[in-house]
Symmetry: C2
């Protein structure tokens, strides 16, 4: 077996040297999991060559692992019958994600070219938003009647073993497709052949509504260590299942979104490689303008204290140092706390102990930073008086930043806003101006300005 | 079934009202997945009461879902025979994690109290670091001989179905325990009973060395959609397996570490709730002091330009606005890029197109922000000349921050340092001082100072 690095090097070499024969031979030997590894490292031009070079039967594996919007772009360049054949060969849930990204007219025309059964399955899946449980599910599950015996069930499974994505769980349905129970494959196997399925199944299994959020589905699967989660409608009819492999993607996407928000930008919603310059610009400019507006009052504050700055020029030297330290502590607190809330460790009711803990840490950090800041002020020959002002200010800013950064995410949760919008830049901005007010208030008072 | 919120409310009420009978009745009805939901929301005092109130047979489920260091603290308060009984009832991989956190003397004494077989299993597991594949694995897997027939294999499985964590995969070993192949349960079931196991198994399965990193194990399991990954020694002898449920924890921990680093602090390595004030202080002070030292030269820069600031006081009003905007753009770029590198989308060789893209976005943002900054300067009546200086500076700082933030993570990867150390606070700090130099250079030149 090739290592990860060998795999990447091999396929990059084959593409860059335009070795079509080698590429075809290589493609027949690897599967969708290797494509999932390889594709994110290729640029658009390399992918275009790859699609061109590979024979039709390899394309479904490749397109299923691309970002759906990218796969849709590629299908648009092909004859519609060819696009329809490729989509038929993909799992219905993956094919649906791609068709969702096609312009409506093209999507309809390609669906008409497809086998009626497969087109009908996809039309049903298209009804659900892509980030809902229904949008994540696949309709290929294994269903049996409660009246079979275990050995009959095994016989039935043998017939369909090629068609379905996972058969570790078998779902027991009544004739109207209501979900009666679920059965793990090994319970069927490891029991006496004449036991009725009805006696073996777990009744009242964990399910999710088709219109529920995909994050809820991910949490249920993970928390309960399930291999697959049944998706039902409001009458408890089984519509499809969500499997583990779908969830890894959801978890990765959610973590990426949180990280992008914490960095002070709107989530890209597409892979970085696929993000155009215009998209990156749009996602960033909104927060930049908002933060600029929020920061603008620092100008007003500084103008207000112009006289003091002229009188004691050395006061100005420490402004970036003071605001910087406040921003750094705020960023530390808010990222740790937002993450603790995302993984369910901290809830609204915890506001008191969180605040207590962060205050205590903030005081500790403030004392140390005050000492360091005093030392620095003396190195710059700012005078002992200014040194005391800087030291006291830095201590207060540490405590103040920790407090704001600890309270704000919890407050937003209370207002039902995603706490991840409290980004590091937002906290930095909020404590910059308030920190300056603290600084000049103390300076005026201690230096008799 | 209770919803997530009902579950939490119920158990919090039972604990807070000290309703021991209710708590015991409740505990017998829920399993480890519910405990995994509940425990992170309880504080130490509530957990202490819970452990006290529950009968011994419920404790293994509870302790297995606590952070290992917390579980170890609780075991230390119990008689050693009781602690040994609880550990015996846990899965060996979970028990090992807990014993790893006990002081050596106590660990040895408890191991002596345990059944010799189980103690031996744990002693073997203790040899591997907790964050290696060996530290993550469980030794309870299903192994069969290649010479069995399919129906004999099913008979063998029936006997051991209670003891093992997962039996969806069956491992085929020779008498020296070398791994010959792997077989999914449904291949055994869905074939003719007289087929030899040797003909059914997949030879050359995906494996991982016991001393490999746990992140590599997580990537293999996820990329290849495996339910379990066999862990082998250097002679290809099967030591244990890593299952999906272990991986969700690894992925969550790794994302948490990255987020904490990006926020400008060293990773806590324990849940936020378990982090003491002293630990939070230690993890944060290191970066704060480093960032303070890095920011300190802004004081030198400002002192150097004291004359200019006295001559044109209005220049000072825009310092936080300029450094703030530079820091915000840097934070946006670096978080997006570090994440794209973490999920494998951006590699070293991509430095050119990353830089090209980020430069283009930076120029676009710079133009817009220059317009806004000019408008703001006129609102503050800073004069048109100062307005031009501020506008040109903000445009240059946008481009400069984007460049530094795009290059630095890739440079660190090249130096084999984790790019996640390029936190939002670090980028902010780096562009603060350089931004000031740009500002005063332009001011001196345009205002003839």
């Amino acid at each position: 077996m090739l290592t990860h690095e060998e795999l990447l090097t091999t396929v990059h070499d084959l593409i860059d040297t335009r070795d079509q024969a080698g590429l075809i031979a290589f493609a027949t030997e690897i599967g969708s999991s290797e494509w999932a590894d390889i594709l994110p490292t290729l640029d658009e031009e390399q992918i275009a060559y790859l699609i061109d070079a590979l024979p039709g039967e390899e394309l479904p594996d490749v397109l299923a692992e691309l970002d759906p919007s990218h796969a849709a772009d590629i299908l648009m360049t092909m004859p519609q019958t060819e696009a329809a054949d490729i989509l038929e060969a993909m799992d219905p849930d993956d094919a649906t994600d791609v068709i969702d990204e096609l312009p409506d007219r093209e999507a309809q025309q390609i669906l008409i070219e497809m086998e009626p059964d497969e087109a009908a399955e996809i039309r049903e899946l298209l009804a659900f938003p892509p980030d809902s449980a229904g949008g994540l599910m696949t309709p290929s599950f294994v269903a049996i009647s409660p009246d079979l015996r275990a050995d009959q069930a095994i016989g039935a499974l043998r017939k369909i073993s090629e068609e379905v994505e996972t058969m570790y769980y078998v779902y027991v349905l009544d004739p109207e497709e209501h979900l009666l129970g679920v059965l793990s494959l090994y319970r069927i196997v490891l029991t006496r052949g004449d036991t009725p399925v009805r006696d073996l199944m777990v009744t009242d299994p964990i399910t999710i509504m088709a219109d529920a959020d995909q994050e809820t589905a991910a949490a249920l699967l993970t928390d309960h260590n399930l291999l697959a989660l049944p998706v039902v409608d409001h009458d408890n009819r089984l519509l499809g299942i969500i499997t583990q492999d779908d969830i890894a993607d959801v978890l990765e996407d959610e973590a990426t979104e949180d990280i992008e928000r914490l960095g002070g930008s709107q989530p890209l919603d597409v892979p970085y490689r696929r993000a155009t310059i215009a998209l990156l610009f749009r996602r960033r400019i909104v927060w930049l303008l908002f933060l600029f507006a929020a920061e603008a009052y620092t100008g007003t504050v500084l103008r207000h204290y112009s006289a003091e700055q002229v009188e004691v020029v050395a006061l100005g030297w420490f402004i970036p140092l003071l605001t910087g330290t406040g921003g750094n502590i705020g960023s530390q607190v808010t990222t740790t706390l937002v993450r603790a809330m995302a993984v369910g460790e901290v809830r609204l009711r915890d506001v008191r102990w969180v605040l207590g803990k962060e205050l205590a840490v903030g005081i500790g950090l403030g004392v140390v930073m005050a000492g360091v800041a005093f030392a620095r002020s003396q190195l710059l020959h700012a005078g002992t008086d200014v040194g005391y002002v800087v030291a006291i200010t830095v201590a207060l800013i540490c405590v103040w930043s920790a407090t704001v950064a600890a309270v704000l995410p919890l407050l937003l949760r209370k207002l039902r806003v995603d706490p991840a919008v409290v980004s590091a830049p937002l906290i930095t901005t909020l404590v910059d101006g308030t920190g300056l007010v603290i600084y000049f208030t103390i300076a005026k008072w201690m230096l008799n300005l």
